[in-house]
């Protein structure tokens, strides 16, 4: 089984701080499926740079507030 990428994220907390936004809402706003948002949030999938910027844009924060390198 592939090792999960060494990237931590704060998407769950950011969603909570933004009116308890659901995964489905976030997925709709960044043009992805809810399952992909769930996989990103659980650290099972590293999104492309474009998707990462879209997520940061939705929350109105910088990329480093959303994703942190743990390697």
């Amino acid at each position: 089984m592939p090792t999960p990428p060494p990237i931590k994220n704060d998407i769950r907390r950011l969603r909570f701080e933004h009116g308890e936004m659901t995964q489905a809402d976030l997925a709709l706003r960044i043009g992805m499926t809810r399952q992909t948002v769930a996989a990103i949030e659980q650290g099972k999938y590293s999104p492309s740079l474009e998707a990462a910027f879209r997520i940061a844009q939705v929350f109105g924060v910088g990329l480093d507030r959303v994703f942190q390198w743990e390697g």
Binding site: M1, P5, G31, M32, T33, T36, A39, Y45, P47, A51
Partner: protein, 133 residues
């Protein structure tokens, strides 16, 4: 379950059941020494497969089907790449049957190679949705 994972499960099981029944028929006919035939049974098999897959997708997938997102494209590509390797090995196996069987059974071996690689692709998509990528 993701819409495309559900579709992959539908494709996997329908391919397994329909081609399983087809090759059971082919195996029995070959073992009994009856002429196996190709066009008729294969056309029937493909028609049954298409009707089953379309019918089940309509019946089970009620959500609207949007375009693939980047993760789904990656899963699809990875599964297709792995299935291609399976196809290469299976096609080599089918080519070897030329030394042992007639041309109709060799054609059946090629169809078996295609069915196995198709199963590998659907299986790869299902696994891709369930593990980190």
């Amino acid at each position: 379950m993701a819409l495309r994972e559900k579709s992959a499960w539908i494709s996997f099981w329908t391919t397994l059941v329909v081609y399983g029944a087809y090759f059971a028929y082919v195996g029995q006919a070959a073992a009994a020494g009856r002429p196996v035939g190709l066009a008729g049974p294969l056309t029937t098999c493909i028609l049954v497969l298409v009707v089953l897959q379309i019918g089940l997708r309509i019946a089970l997938n009620r959500e609207p089907r949007g375009p693939h997102d980047e993760r789904e494209r990656l899963i699809d590509l990875t599964a297709s790449k792995q299935a291609f390797y399976v196809l290469q090995v299976a096609a080599m196996g089918a080519a070897v049957t030329v030394y042992f069987f007639d041309k109709v059974l060799m054609a059946q071996a090629v169809i078996l190679a295609l069915a196995v690689s198709e199963l590998a692709r659907h299986g790869g998509i299902i696994l891709g949705h369930r593990r980190p990528c």
